[in-house]
């Protein structure tokens, strides 16, 4: 953010002088600590991938075998034939389609509704606005479990249990207060003159929103798209509560289903980890491609918080 400001004081450190040695020691300590932290982060991560490529008898071999030999990329195919041998509809494509269906609908709903609601909170003056906005932020503190039972009963009375409805269209009601907050912050940074010019040109509110505001807030919408994709792709509690037919399961539930089908005595960790890696892969890909959006998205809220 202010990296240019940080430059002046750091410059003297590079000048040779009596402090040079102390500076070197300090650097070594810093890198050593960071390296240690990195190892702690990466070892479990590599262990997941490494396990997913092992044969069963490699799993319990004593010692650290980080690199499997022989490597078994076939595990990634085998896990799905195992799963569909338990329930023939649980194929790779089916489970992926389920996961994507839920994720994309919920993501679209979250983004659009949050943008509209944030626009109402950011750009117009009306009585009760600030109280309502504070109320919205306060809902973050309500543990989800409190509303789970009544929520379940509502969907049950609508006859929509075991459908994707509870997981998708409620997103159209801006169920993520954090996203509304982030977009509102972004709106506040846009100069009002832009809208005023459009109003003079005769544009109505909807036109201003669609043709002027949406393109302007694209960076934050992208950041939220990334966060929302992650949130919905990883969602476990919602699907666990509402879905009961295995062929409707998203990945998170398919993993639980597979886990429970295995005996506790012979957990086939190579397959479980192959599935875990597969579930993590798209999120990781997005994370590495859109790291800036990801990390900035988390930041906007906190800096002004």
């Amino acid at each position: 953010m202010n990296s240019t400001v940080a430059q002046p004081t750091l410059k003297p450190l590079h000048e040779p002088g009596p402090s040079q040695r102390g500076f070197q020691v300090r650097r070594i300590i810093i890198y050593a600590l960071l390296g240690l932290g990195a190892a702690l982060v990466l070892i479990p991560f590599f262990w997941m991938i490494s396990t997913s490529l092992k044969t069963e008898d490699q799993l319990f071999r004593p010692g650290l075998n980080l690199i499997p030999n022989p490597a078994m990329p076939g595990n990634y195919v085998e896990v799905w034939s195992r799963l569909s041998s338990i329930n023939e509809s649980m194929t790779f494509w089916r489970i992926m389609a389920n996961t994507l269906f839920i994720t994309i609908l919920a993501m679209f709903g979250e983004i659009m509704s949050a943008a509209i609601v944030a626009y109402g909170f950011a750009r117009f003056k009306w009585r009760g606005r600030d109280i309502l906005f504070a109320l919205m932020l306060a809902t973050v503190m309500i543990p989800g479990i409190v509303t789970r039972v009544p929520g379940f009963l509502i969907w049950r009375s609508l006859g929509l249990l075991d459908t994707y409805d509870p997981l998708t269209w409620p997103s159209l009601f801006a169920w993520g207060p954090l996203y509304v907050f982030l977009i509102r912050q972004f709106f506040l940074s846009i100069p009002r003159e832009i809208e005023e010019a459009a109003i003079i040109d005769g544009a109505n509110t909807m036109q201003i929103f669609i043709y002027i505001m949406l393109p302007l807030i694209r960076p934050i919408l992208l950041a939220i798209a990334v966060l929302s994709f992650q949130g919905n792709w990883n969602n476990f509690q919602g699907p666990l509560l509402y879905l009961s037919t295995p062929e409707k399961f998203p990945l998170a539930l398919a993993m639980r289903f597979f886990d429970q089908s295995l005996s506790k005595e012979a957990p086939q960790w190579q397959y479980m980890m192959a599935m875990a890696t597969m579930m993590a892969a798209p999120i990781l890909a997005i994370y590495f491609l859109a790291q800036k959006q990801f990390l900035d998205g988390i930041n906007v809220g906190a800096v002004k918080g």
């Binding site: 117009f124 409190v146 039972v149 509690q237 809220g301």
Partner: protein, 372 residues
């Protein structure tokens, strides 16, 4: 693909589109109604635009919380209509007993009332006290969840602050480090929960690493998943993996936002590193620390996936969120589960309120707050 597959998606898709149109209709309707009532255009537009959230708030928060409170006073198993039983659920939940022990080693079943199980044992000298409860699953989970929150929140914050300070030094590739340390937080909780169960299993990686060291002392490798005293330790270790990254990113942004002049002024005053940290960094960073504190506290009290995938021995309890979920949807005790959820709600709100109350003493907002 056959029609069966389409049947799974199509009705939801149709209803999704209808609801979306309904939401737009709602916005338009509320706008028109206000205009008819003579509300200014700006106010009418603003209010109309937030209507989707208001409706969702009324149904999924206000109504649902009210319904939950009502259900907590009933006996309801989904098959018969809810039966009003007054405070019975709460009475059962608070059926606790505190009895003295004759010796510190005395078995709690000898002193506790029938059907009560030990929750907490307090040894004082030769004797002590034991707290028992009838709803032992709930209270054991309460114990585990609170221990977890009290240990992981401050330690996680301190660790994240340390890491953010390291990353704020003149180091190469800050961006890459930041990406690396945040990595655990993006991985699906379901996947990592399974990974941890594997790593902490009897012949998993953790014990593989520990074995040579423990052999030196002639100790056995710990039974992480079956030894009840190790359960909280296990979850605390797991939490550290993810908690640093998420908090660090925010704290690092906060550090970068501290004006360099403040440090220069401190240098002129002859302040040392510690004085600068204590008197410049911490106050300037306190809003970010406060935000992290609230978010991680709420998060720590609501752990779910880890509990769903890592079973614990009965005596250890599990995470509250999972216990309540099970009570409701595995045992179908909707009334009891609602009462439990309300106790949890009060605890979460109470602890958060405590943090908010304390914030005036240590959170420093620079000048007039910006933001709007």
């Amino acid at each position: 693909m056959d029609l069966g597959v389409l049947n799974q998606f199509l009705p939801t898709l149709v209803r999704y589109v209808l609801v979306a149109l309904g939401v737009l209709g709602l916005i338009y309707g509320v706008y028109k109604l206000q205009r008819k009532l003579g509300v200014r255009q700006e106010a009418a537009t603003g209010r109309a635009l937030v209507m989707p959230w208001v409706l969702g708030f009324v149904v999924f928060n206000v109504f649902a919380i009210g319904a939950s409170l009502y259900l907590s006073f009933t006996d309801y198993n989904l098959f018969r209509a809810p039966e009003w039983i007054g405070f019975e659920n709460y009475r059962q939940l608070f059926d606790l007993s505190l009895v003295p022990l004759e010796t510190a080693e005395q078995r709690s079943s000898e002193v506790l009332p029938r059907r009560h199980d030990e929750i907490v044992r307090l040894t004082v000298g030769d004797g002590g006290f034991v707290l028992g409860a009838r709803e032992s699953d709930f209270w054991r989970s309460m114990r585990l969840t609170l221990i977890y929150a009290i240990v992981t929140v401050p330690l996680g914050l301190a660790g994240a602050l340390g890491l953010a300070l390291l990353l704020n030094q003149k180091i190469k590739g800050v961006g890459a480090w930041r990406v690396l340390f945040y990595l655990p937080a993006v991985l699906p909780a379901v996947a990592t929960a399974l990974l941890w169960r594997w790593m902490f299993s009897q012949s998993g990686l953790v014990n593989q690493i520990l074995r040579p060291f423990l052999d030196v002392f002639g100790m056995d490798t710990p039974q992480w998943l079956t030894n009840p005293t190790l359960s909280p330790v296990l979850f605390i270790i797991i939490s550290f993996w993810g908690v640093f990254g998420a908090n660090t990113v925010i704290l690092l942004a906060g550090l970068k936002g501290i004006p360099q002049e403040l440090y220069e002024a401190a240098d002129i005053d002859g302040a040392g590193d510690w004085a600068k940290f204590r008197n410049v960094t911490v106050p300037m960073l306190s809003p970010a620390i406060f935000y992290n504190l609230v978010v991680s506290l709420i998060g720590a009290l609501q752990v779910f996936e880890v509990a769903a995938f890592i079973p614990t021995p009965t005596e250890a309890g599990t995470f509250l969120n999972w216990t309540i979920f099970q009570e409701a949807f595995s045992f179908r005790n909707m009334g009891m589960a609602s009462a439990m959820a309300w106790i949890m709600l009060i605890i979460v709100l109470g602890l958060t309120a405590l943090v908010f109350r304390s914030s005036s003493a240590w959170v420093f907002y620079q000048g007039a707050r910006e933001g709007n």
